[in-house]
Each structure stands twice: as structure tokens, then as C-alpha cells.
Amino acid sequence: MPGRLIAIVLCAFLAEAGGDGGVEVGAVARDGQVYVSATAPDGLMSDLEEAISSGLATTITYEADLREEVGIWFDRTLASATVSASVQYDTLTRRYQLSRSVDGRLADSRVCEDKADVKRFALGFDRLPLFSTGRLEPNAEYYVRVRVRTRPRVTFFLWPWGRDAANGVARFTFIP
């Protein structure tokens, strides 16, 4: 009986740690930069739709890690970048204020009224030069892992520690 209980707890923990998955990630090394594209699943938007509609400042954060696989040990993280997409809905004017920042720097800002635009803006980014290829070895295998977090988080009422909303990986071979 105790063994069964431990197994259940372990499975629940692994499921928590694993997240939903489903982020489509693309990575291309070109012109001395690693261009990363990411598209979060549509379900994420539906989870946040109520929060956005309520006028809350909603942020979808994409934590991108450039990593290298290491045989029997933990993979090595070569560089990290954070892309945040913020959405604030003005319930009075029915317009969305959108902004995107890369590592804290404002990269884009716009206003729109169309939910489809909001969805496109919030659920991903396209070909952002997030990393430099300076530290990469030629012809070596790398991958970019993107984890998506949202704020406000979707949490269980007695367990506030959230989990990655989604994550995804893209592998590439660095050819200079």
C-alpha cells in the first residue's frame, strides 16, 4: 500500500514537472545569430482568455535556452533569453494594448481590437535573434528549449506552485 501511494505521488510530481508540451519551436543559425521561432498551443490562449477579458495585464513569457546535450549528465545551457508578450485589454474601449520585450527591452508595441491579432501576437514570435553563434562549435548538435509561463498562473487553490504552461524543443546543427 505505501509503495502504491509513493508511485502515485511520483507520477503526479513528474506530470507537474513535465508540463503540457506542445510549443512549436524553430531554430536557425544564420549570420552569426540563432533565430528562434516559437508558437504556443491555442489552448493556452483559451486558459488566459478570461484573465485578458477581465482587463488584467496578462503576460506570456517564453524562456528560451540554448543547450548542448551532455552524455550521461545534465545538458549544458549555453545561453538563455526571455521573451515576454504582454496583453492588456481595455474593457471600455475594447482595444488590446500589446507589447513584446526581449530580455527586458521593449521590442514591439501596438494596439489592436481584433482577438485574432492578439492571439497571433501573444502565442508566439517569429525569427527573433536570441543568441549569438560565437560560442557554438561548428557541426555540433544543439537544441533550443522554450518554456512558456503565464501570468496570472493557472494554479490549484491549495498548491500555488505553478508549472510550465507549455514547452518545446528544436534541434539544429550549427554549420557556420
Partner: protein, 770 residues
């Protein structure tokens, strides 16, 4: 309360301490700690109440991102602490029960009851309260409220949209009008008239016209040309806003409208439209604004804020529920932790003194009287500890006195035992027989000498004296054992004669009463002495005196008789033959008999005046060989054989006297054999007894047992001739040498005389036969 030795000097003796007697930490009440604990508890509860009270004022985001985390962490910590305390207590209780510690079951029950009394209500309250929280939170988001706020928000939003569309439409109309005008003209009145109608008609509150000029970056840049404002409009707060809007419209962005809050509390809804000529070239931008009054804007904002707050609250519903549940859980855990701690504390406080008392009682029971308890509390348990320690002190003192008494008793017992052993040894060794008879007439002590003298076995002890002595010749002992006692008078001594294997044994009996402390008769002691040797010695002494007198009285007249007879013989030597023959015959007879009498008197004299032996170290074998050599060839039909020990130590003896002894015994043997038979002379060395034995045995007819003791009496002889002094002299010579002579039957027939002489040396065992 803790255990402690009574004093450093009275520590427990080595080896007697319990194996697991680990000193326990003293358990003391600490009012300061208790007060601090209660204060911390109250403080925590007050903090929680305060936080809970202000939770409605905190942003949901803050509640969910910070407060919920903090509460969850605290809850987890308290839960872990509670589980730890409970697990520790359960394990301790299990271990105590397994080790069979006293009061373990009682303590477990007490803790369980206290925990149940707290846990069950707390869990029930938690369940009910949780459900209450869920219901309350659900009630916040009921359908009417949803509809009402949604409708209000839609009204406000639709109003804004309408106003924004009106402004946009009017601004676009003005842009079309101004498309035919020259925005670069110096006559601004024309332009003002073109747009003034919209302001006058209150379709717009403010109209601003910009002319587009090429900017430094090549993009069109709006330059203000003219603005028309209604009288109701306040001062334009910021031209920058309209210029940015104009630039945005000029750059071709489709969504060219905005809201601008005013310092007066109202709002401006602004829209921009590009002024184009007929050929589509953009020459300017018109920014039209309509002012919403402060009250209107505030109401719209209020409705929107209410809607947003409500919907945001819905978004944070799980988190808020979690916050309140965490509050509730925290209070429950706080109560549980406090109750658990209090339960354990109370259980410990109740059972520990009792446990310690029980353990101390066991220690005392195990003989560790120096075991003490340290008073830890000042309550009734403390008084109990004092009473226990007092009892232990008294027990220890009693024990010490008892031990001292025991030591004294043991010492006395040892003395008595030594005395008893000494008495037993004396009684065992003494030749006098000793018999004790108790008041009931039963035999107590019967020493070996008594057993031997009376012919009784050791089983006689414990039996009634009358039964043991009641038969035949021991009847006098029974009489003595049962004779009535008269105070101050002792029983008269008696002599009895017993027949032991044909020998007469003369015994002297004496009885002595045993008195108790009250001088009452507790028994009697019978003393039996073998006086046979004494009687025999007295007889010998008497005979020696008789012999000496006889020798003196008889020997004196013998010589005159012999001389007279010889004179008569000489006188009648000349007489006639018949007379002379008669006289010769008579005088010859007289002289012969006188000679015989002289010989007899000489023997008497020798017996009476036996000289003391002149002892010198003598080789017994050589002495015997020389003595026996005298008999060689004398008796044809008597064979004298020797069976000598391999070697004998030299024996200090008078060779002449011992030679006479041997000759006497061999002569007697030859005579007993009627000069036909075998005589064996044997020697033995008894190193253990320090004696040398000379044995003369023959295979003659033997001597009847009843006559054997009489053989050594003077003038007793089984022969038709002889003085009867030979064996008496033998016994006397041997006795003078410190030895003894015994006569017994030879195997298979004949008589066997054994002479035992003391010797100082040792010699190897073994025999050699010739």
C-alpha cells in the same frame, strides 16, 4: 524529576547498575517558555486575523502571487512539523511499548485521547469551514451579478464606442471638406469657418487642423494650423497628444483614435482623419475631439472598474479560495500543533513522574537502595518524590543496619562453624566415644569412637536411644540415657564388658546432663571409654609385683635347699648302696626341682625387672635373618620362609630384645606346629603410618578367638609347660619400643602375630620372598 545517586560516596556498587541506566534529562516546568509559546501563538493568530481582515483590500494578484505562497509555505512547514512531532511520538511510544517500559500503554492512551479530542473537532471544523469558504466564494460569482456587471460594462463600452464613432465620422467629414481648402493659406478664418460648424453644433468639442510638411526623416510631419474649441471645452491639456494622433494618422495607421483624460475629471475622445486633395495627396490632418464630462467619464470608468474587478476576481477565484483555505488550514494546524504539543507535554508531565517513581521503585526493589529521584516540580509530584526519597533513605539505613547484622551473624556463624568443625574433628579423632541425647531421648551425635566401641553404625543417630541401646549388653547405656535427672546430682559412672569378635572389651560409661539457659534439662552426653588396655596394664603391673615378690620369697630359700640336698648327698655317699641310691635319687630330685624353680624365678625376675630398651638404628632384615639362622637344621619338618619387603628403613630398636621377641614367637609357632609345618616371617613397611611390621604366621591349628586376648596375660598358657610369661614379655618389649602386637587368624589356617614398630624413614614398596 530525574534520577540521581544519594551522594557521590554512595554510588551504586559495580556490576549492580542497570545496563541501560542512561541519565535522563531533567524535566522542569519553564513558565517563561510556556508564556513565550502562548505569546507567540497569540501573536501568530493576531497577525493572521489582521492579514485576513485586510485581504479584501489587497490586490488579487498580490494575494495569489505572494500571500498564497507565504501561507502555503507556512502551512507546509507546520504540517511537516506536526507530522514530525506525531511520528516521533508514535515511534517513541512504540519503542517504549516494545521495551516494556512501565506506563507506556497508559501514556500512549493518554496521548491518543488528547490528540483525538483535538484532532477530531479540528478536522471537522476544517471540513465544515472549507465547505463554507467554497460556498461563500461561489456566492460571489452568482448569475445576477454577472449579468448586471456585464450589462453595465456593455452600456459604458457601447457609449464610448458610439461617441468614438461619432467623433470619427465627424472628423472624417471635416477632412473631406478641408480637402478642397489650402491648408497653407494665411487666411485662417476660412479654415476656421469650415470646421466651426461642427463645434457650434456640439458635434465636436474641439477641432484641430494640421498641415503636413515633409519631415527630416522624409515622413510627413503635422504642423498645427488652426484649432476651434467650444466655449464649454476647458483648456487643451496637451497638444502633444493630438500631434501624436495626427502623426499616427498621417503615417497611415488605421486605428487613429484615442482617449485622453482631463485634469478636470473628464475625458477627451479624439479621432484623426487625413485631409486629402482630390488626387489623394495628403495635405493635412484633422483631429476632432469630443469632451465627456467628468461625471459621465467617472461613471463609465466606475462601471468598467467594477466589471474588471469582478472578472479579475473570478480569474483569481482558485487563488483566493486557496488563500482563505490556507488561512483556515493554518489556524487549524496551529491549533493541532499546539494541542499536540500540549497533549504530549501533559502526557509527559503526568506519566514521567510516575514512570520515574516506578523505575526508582524497581531499583529499590533490586537492592539499589542508594537510588534517588531529583525533584523537578514543586507540585504534588514533587512532594511524592520527597516522600519516596525519605522512604529510600530509611530503607537504605535499615539495609545498612541489616547488612551489618548479617555480617556480624555471618562472622558468628563462621566462628560457630569453626567451633563445630573443631568439635567434630575432636570427636572424630578422640578415642573416647561421645553420644549426645536430646530431651526427647533421641541420639544426636554419635562419634566414630562410640560407633566402634559400641558396634553401632552411623544410622543410629536420630533414633531413640532406648531403641538403639535397648538390647542385651548395651542395656546399661539405655538405663543411663533414660535415667531420671535429679537437679544437682549426676548419674553414677558404670563399667560394662562387651564381647567384640570374641574379645572382651571393658567400657567405662559416664553421663553428663546438658542444661539450657533456664537450667532445664535439654539432654545428656554419654561418654564411653575403652578401659581394656588400662585394666590390662593394671593386671600386668599387679602380676609384675607378684612376680617380684614371688621371686624374692622363693629364690631366697632355694639355695639353702639346694645346698642341703647336696650335703645330704655327700653325707650318704658312703652309705650302703640301697641307701645311697635312695638318697641320690631324692637329692637329685630336690636339686633338679630347685634348679627348675630357679629358672622359673629367674623368668619371674626378668618379667618383673625388664630393662629399658637400648635402641639403636637397626637393619630389621639383617636382624631377622640372623635370628632365623639359629633354626637352620634344627627341625627337619618345619620350614621357615621369609617374605621381606624390598627394603625397610632402619628402625631404632634394641636388637637383643627384638631378637628375643622373634625367637619367642617362632618357638611358639614351632610348638604349635608340633614340629611339622610352615612358618612365614614377613616384613612390611607402612610409610603412611610410619611403621614397620614384622609378621610371624604359621599354618598350625590356630587359637580360638576368645583366647587371643588372654595370650598376652602373664601366666596364661595354652601349653602344658612353660611359665606363661613369654607373650607377656613380648608385649612388654614391643610396648617399650612404642609399638603394638596383635594376634589373629592366618589365612587359610593357623595363627598370625603382627608386630608394629614405629620408624622414621621411608622405603620403596615391594616384597622379596625367600
Amino acid at each position: 524529576m530525574a534520577t540521581r545517586p544519594a551522594s557521590p560516596a554512595s554510588s551504586r556498587p559495580a556490576g549492580s547498575a542497570p545496563a541501560a541506566a542512561r541519565p535522563r534529562r531533567p524535566f522542569r516546568d519553564s513558565p517563561l517558555q510556556v508564556l513565550l509559546g502562548i505569546f507567540a501563538l497569540v501573536l501568530a493568530l493576531a497577525g493572521m486575523m489582521l492579514l485576513l481582515n485586510r485581504s479584501s483590500q489587497l490586490a488579487p494578484d498580490f494575494l495569489s502571487e505572494f500571500v498564497l505562497y507565504a501561507l502555503s509555505v507556512v502551512d507546509l512547514m507546520m504540517l511537516v512539523g506536526l507530522v514530525f512531532v506525531l511520528a516521533r511520538s508514535v515511534i517513541k511510544m512504540l519503542v517504549e511499548r516494545k521495551r516494556g517500559l512501565p506506563f507506556a500503554r497508559f501514556r500512549a492512551k493518554l496521548v491518543l485521547v488528547l490528540l483525538a479530542m483535538t484532532l477530531i473537532p479540528a478536522v471537522l471544523v476544517l471540513l465544515v469551514g472549507s465547505q463554507l469558504i467554497f460556498n461563500s466564494v461561489d456566492r460571489w460569482f452568482n448569475a445576477p451579478m454577472d449579468e448586471m456587471l456585464d450589462s453595465a460594462q456593455r452600456i459604458a463600452s457601447d457609449y464610448y464606442h458610439d461617441r468614438q464613432r461619432q467623433v470619427s465620422d465627424e472628423t472624417a467629414r471635416l477632412a473631406r471638406i478641408l480637402g478642397t481648402a489650402d491648408l497653407g493659406t494665411s487666411d485662417l478664418r476660412v479654415l476656421r469657418d469650415a470646421v466651426a460648424g461642427s463645434v457650434t453644433d456640439q458635434r465636436l468639442t474641439l477641432v484641430e487642423v494640421y498641415r503636413l510638411v515633409p519631415g527630416a526623416d522624409g515622413l510627413p510631419e503635422p504642423v498645427p494650423v488652426v484649432d476651434v474649441a467650444s466655449a464649454a471645452a476647458g483648456p487643451v491639456t496637451s497638444r502633444d497628444t493630438s500631434e501624436r494622433l495626427a502623426a499616427r494618422a498621417a503615417s497611415g495607421q488605421p486605428d487613429a483614435w484615442m482617449r485622453e483624460p482631463l485634469a478636470s475629471g473628464g475625458e477627451l475622445i479624439r479621432a484623426a482623419a487625413v485631409v486629402r486633395r482630390a488626387d489623394g495627396f495628403a495635405t493635412g490632418v484633422v483631429v476632432g475631439s469630443v469632451q465627456l464630462t467628468g461625471e459621465m467619464a467617472a461613471r463609465a470608468r466606475g462601471m468598467t472598474r467594477a466589471f474588471e474587478s469582478y472578472t479579475q476576481l473570478r480569474v483569481f477565484k482558485p487563488a483566493l479560495t486557496g488563500v482563505y483555505l490556507s488561512f483556515f488550514l493554518m489556524v487549524t494546524l496551529l491549533i493541532l500543533v499546539s494541542a499536540t504539543w500540549m497533549g504530549l507535554y501533559l502526557a509527559k508531565r503526568i506519566t514521567r513522574p510516575v514512570q520515574m517513581l516506578a523505575a526508582a521503585a524497581r531499583e529499590i526493589g533490586a537492592g539499589h537502595f542508594e537510588h534517588r529521584l531529583e525533584r523537578e516540580t514543586v507540585d504534588e509530584f514533587g512532594s511524592l518524590v520527597d516522600a519516596f526519597n525519605t522512604m529510600a533513605d530509611e530503607l537504605a539505613a535499615s539495609r545498612r543496619a541489616l547488612e551489618q547484622s548479617s555480617v556480624d551473624l555471618q562472622r558468628k556463624h563462621a566462628e560457630v562453624e569453626d567451633r563445630r568443625l573443631f568439635t567434630e574433628a575432636v570427636l572424630d579423632r578422640v578415642a573416647t566415644g561421645v553420644i549426645t541425647i536430646d530431651a526427647a531421648g533421641r541420639i544426636g551425635i554419635l562419634n566414630p569412637a562410640a560407633s566402634t566401641l559400641l558396634g553401632l553404625d552411623a544410622g543410629a543417630a536420630g533414633r531413640p536411644a532406648e531403641e538403639v541401646f535397648g538390647s542385651g549388653e548395651l542395656k546399661p547405656l539405655a538405663d543411663l540415657a533414660t535415667a531420671p535427672y535429679v537437679a544437682g546430682k549426676e548419674w553414677p559412672a558404670q563399667e560394662i564388658v562387651l564381647n567384640r569378635n570374641g574379645r572382651e572389651v571393658q567400657l567405662a560409661l559416664a553421663a553428663t546432663p546438658l542444661h539450657g539457659d533456664g537450667r532445664q534439662l535439654e539432654g545428656r552426653v554419654l561418654v564411653v571409654d575403652d578401659i581394656t588396655p588400662l585394666i590390662r596394664a593394671q593386671k600386668v603391673a599387679a602380676w609384675r609385683e607378684v612376680a617380684r615378690r614371688l621371686a624374692h620369697e622363693i629364690k631366697n630359700p632355694l639355695t639353702p635347699i639346694q645346698l642341703c640336698a647336696q650335703r645330704l648327698q655327700r653325707q650318704f655317699s658312703s652309705a650302703s648302696a640301697p641307701v645311697r641310691e635312695l638318697v641320690d635319687e631324692c637329692t637329685g630330685t630336690i636339686v633338679g626341682e630347685v634348679e627348675a624353680l630357679k629358672t622359673l624365678v629367674d623368668e619371674f625376675s626378668q618379667f618383673a625387672r625388664m630393662p629399658s630398651p637400648k635402641r639403636v638404628p637397626t637393619d630389621v632384615h639383617q636382624l631377622l635373618a640372623g635370628t632365623l639362622g639359629l633354626y637352620e637344621g634344627l627341625f627337619a619338618h618345619v620350614r621357615i620362609a621369609t617374605l621381606f619387603a624390598v627394603s625397610l628403613p632402619p628402625v631404632r630398636l634394641d636388637p637383643d630384645q627384638i631378637r628375643r621377641v622373634v625367637i619367642n614367637l617362632v618357638d611358639n609357632a614351632i610348638e604349635a606346629l608340633n614340629q611339622q609345618g610352615l612358618i612365614v616371617v614377613e616384613t612390611q613397611h607402612d610409610a603412611a603410618a610410619g611403621a614397620v611390621r614384622i609378621i610371624v604366621a604359621d599354618d598350625g591349628p590356630g587359637i580360638a578367638p576368645e583366647e587371643r586376648d588372654k595370650l598376652f596375660m602373664p601366666y596364661y598358657s595354652t601349653k602344658k609347660r612353660g611359665s606363661g610369661l613369654g607373650l607377656a614379655i613380648v608385649r612388654r618389649i614391643v610396648a617399650e619400643h612404642g609399638g603394638s602386637v596383635e594376634v589373629g587368624a592366618n589365612d587359610p589356617r593357623g595363627t598370625r602375630f603382627t608386630i608394629e614398630l614405629p620408624c622414621g624413614g621411608e622405603a620403596p614398596a615391594g616384597t622379596e620372598t625367600t
